[in-house]
């Protein structure tokens, strides 16, 4: 009797049912190490510098002094805030690519308040007012695509993407309108003398208030998504629209409400960036962080505490890379290259967490 020849592929891909936490983190850490190795090769091949020295310089750049540590923390907070804002939308599988625009409109209204109400209102009132207005502005920017998605199924990825550029042009318009000094095409530091509308020091730290606000949001969003009824609705809608409908969830209401929240927090991030960090407004206020935060939110799988880690990793890299750039006379874009390499590796590693590879057994071992 002739044996039946099975044409078994060399590698089969099987979805894992579960993976132990140490193992999944092991894979992630391996991915980061691999990324550092590749980046090291990149740095060495371009500059012939010893990668170990370079990484040491990176650490110095991000964490070397108290001031640098605070600047790193400050930037982590802004990125984290945006990531937290994106979490509910992404959990609903609504691709809010428009964080960049939502930040900018939030920033623009904040800057307007600082310029026009800075002298007439006491600081606490002004800060509260700016927070509220930036939340409204961000929410409006987020709701628009959501309404069209909920009613007519308009593709939200493309819609929110385009809204970014509308917001960027509005910001350019504001910058041209408020430019100071004339002809500089920048707004300059707003209220440099009075400091009106700037975040006050908290616990003796200039960025104390940023940390408090963002950490409160982080914890709040975690609880909202995990323990509230609305958070559960978001999860159901994200899994399947049909299931949600069957369970009696009003789809359009959840979509619009969730995007309002998402846009609102991103708008608040704009307020944070303008009033709490930059004290000015430009098209660089968002500076691509709206896009970076998408990656942060996705990689953390909507867990806001993991976002803290990932945001920190990314900001650390950026600070570190700009330090190398100045120390070793490279240019600043090295940080984008290294960030890209690390993100690619982490993105790729998710595959090995969700799936396992089964290799074809050696001859004789396999039985049909």
């Amino acid at each position: 009797m002739s044996t039946v020849r099975h044409n078994e592929p060399l590698i089969r891909i099987v979805k894992r049912d579960t993976i132990s936490r140490p193992k999944s983190w092991g894979i992630r850490i391996a991915a980061v190490l691999l990324a550092l190795l590749i980046s090291g090769l990149f740095i060495y091949s371009v500059t012939s510098l010893n990668p170990a020295d370079v990484y040491k310089a990176m650490y110095e750049g991000a964490m070397g002094t108290t001031r640098r540590r605070w600047i790193t923390i400050r930037d982590v907070m802004v990125l984290l805030c945006i990531g937290v804002g994106l979490a509910p939308a992404f959990k609903m599988r609504f691709w809010n690519i428009g964080a960049e625009g939502q930040i900018l409109v939030g920033g623009c209204v904040t800057a307007w308040c600082m310029l026009n109400l800075g002298t007439s209102l006491p600081t606490p009132v002004l800060i509260l007012l700016m927070a509220v207005i930036s939340i409204v502005a961000g929410a409006v920017w987020g709701i628009l695509p959501a309404i069209f998605k909920a009613r007519w199924g308009t593709n939200e990825t493309l819609f929110t993407l385009m809204m970014n550029y509308v917001a960027i042009q509005i910001t350019s318009y504001c910058v041209a309108l408020w430019e100071n000094p004339a002809g500089s095409n920048t707004v300059g530091i707003i209220n440099q003398q009075t400091g009106a509308g700037w975040f006050p020091d908290l616990f003796g730290q200039a960025y104390g208030l940023n940390v408090v606000i963002v950490l409160a949001l982080t914890v709040g969003m975690f609880a909202y998504l995990k323990y509230s009824k609305q958070g559960y609705e978001i999860a159901v809608v994200g899994e399947s629209h049909n299931t949600a409908r069957y369970a009696g969830i009003k789809l359009s209401r959840v979509i619009i409400r969730t995007m309002a929240i998402s846009g609102a927090i991103c708008g608040l991030a704009g307020f944070l960036a303008v009033s709490g960090v930059d004290h000015t407004i430009s098209t660089n206020t968002a500076g691509g962080r709206g896009f970076t935060a998408i990656i942060v939110a996705w990689l953390a799988q909507f867990n806001t505490f993991i976002m803290v880690l990932i945001s920190f990793l990314l900001v650390f890299l950026q600070k570190g890379a700009s330090e190398i750039a100045s120390q070793f006379n490279l240019n600043d874009f090295a940080s984008d290259v290294i960030t890209g390499i690390i993100l690619f590796c982490i993105i790729g590693s998710e595959f090995f967490i969700n799936y396992k590879l089964i290799f074809r057994k050696k001859k004789g071992g396999a039985k049909a």
């Binding site: 007519w152 199924g153 993407l161 042009q169 509005i170 691509g288 890209g340 690619f344």
Partner: protein, 324 residues
């Protein structure tokens, strides 16, 4: 007027390349948001290869310059597309996240080397590949002098016409060939296509890589023709890349409409120069137009619900055979 149309066509060609590549990619169901990064890769690869060649020989031949930079730009962009394909198709990563990362990475890599090239050539904005850029901008004087028609339509370098020819070929491929039909069916419903015996993975890989190669030519055209063989690290290519993504929507995924659309975007971009009494503030609002128009088209298309105008049904969604 002639001037406006002429510059509109030059501007439009940059984004036309980007959009054509992205149409091919999106028709296979992959939403590659890495277009800006890919255009960056194309631009820098073309520039770097031309620079290396021009500075290594005393009398560089324009033909070699041209072919070398064209091939290098295409290959570098294809590598970007290959990376995207490997991560999204083989490793099943999310398309949006991978695409955005590709944009960060491509922009970083290009500006990193662009900055280094500038430094090697001595100072910012000093790099220049005159011979190559000249080759790209060569036109046929006899045709260019045919009155206003010649100035508007026949006075450009060959890439303008290459883009149009590519659009026509792409249209023919998507609507008139078996392979094009297969590709579109994958974009609409990969499960059905798979059941019909079409190799989904191979088609997606090819469409994404070739699409990336075509998109990258937009970056090449930008560096060689638009800014005449120099490099500026100011993020213009990124903005143009997103405009190319917008153009894909604007032209409702049709290559022939994309030709027209790209010139319309070009006109919208430069129109402000010809409007009297426009101050700087309103100018910025004016620049919003292409995006607003794109949003309007996006809304209009989804309101009308005409099946032939919709995005590919499976656009941006992953397809894994065993997860149905």
């Amino acid at each position: 007027m002639t001037q406006l149309l002429q510059s509109a066509i030059i501007f439009g060609t940059v984004i036309l390349f980007g959009a054509l590549g992205e149409i091919l990619t999106e028709k296979s169901g992959s939403l590659n948001l890495g277009v800006p990064g890919i255009m960056y890769l194309g631009g820098i690869a073309g520039l770097a290869s031309a620079f290396a060649y021009e500075s290594s020989t005393a009398t560089p031949s324009p033909v070699v310059c041209l072919l070398l930079s064209l091939v290098c730009a295409f290959l570098a962009s294809m590598l970007g597309g290959l990376l995207f394909s490997f991560l999204t198709i083989t490793l099943r990563a999310n398309q949006n996240v991978t695409g955005l990362t590709l944009t960060i990475f491509g922009g970083g890599l290009a500006n990193f080397f662009g900055g280094s090239l500038n430094k090697m050539a001595g100072g910012v904005g000093q790099i220049s590949v005159a011979v190559t850029s000249g080759a790209y901008r060569t036109n046929i004087p006899a045709l260019a002098n045919l009155g206003w028609f010649g100035r508007v339509f026949l006075s450009h370098g060959f890439m303008v016409y290459l883009a149009i020819i590519l659009a026509i070929i792409l249209h023919w491929f998507l609507t008139r060939t078996r392979a094009g039909l297969n590709l579109r069916s994958i974009g609409e419903s990969p499960a059905t296509a798979d059941a019909a015996g079409i190799n989904v993975t191979r088609y997606k890989y090819l469409a994404t890589c070739l699409g990336a190669g075509i998109s990258g030519l937009g970056g090449l055209y930008y560096t060689m023709d638009y800014i005449k063989g120099t490099w500026a690290s100011e993020g213009t290519i990124e903005a143009l890349g997103w405009l190319a993504v917008a153009l894909v929507i604007f032209s409702i995924w049709r290559p022939l409409l994309a030709i027209l659309g790209s010139y319309v975007f070009g006109v919208l971009t430069w129109l402000y120069l010809y409007i009297p009494g426009l101050d700087r503030q309103s100018l910025e609002l004016f620049r919003m137009l292409p995006y607003v128009v794109t949003i309007a088209v996006l809304i209009f298309v989804s309101l009308r619900r005409k099946p032939e105008n919709q995005p590919p049904a499976h656009l941006g969604l992953p397809y894994f055979r065993e997860e149905r």
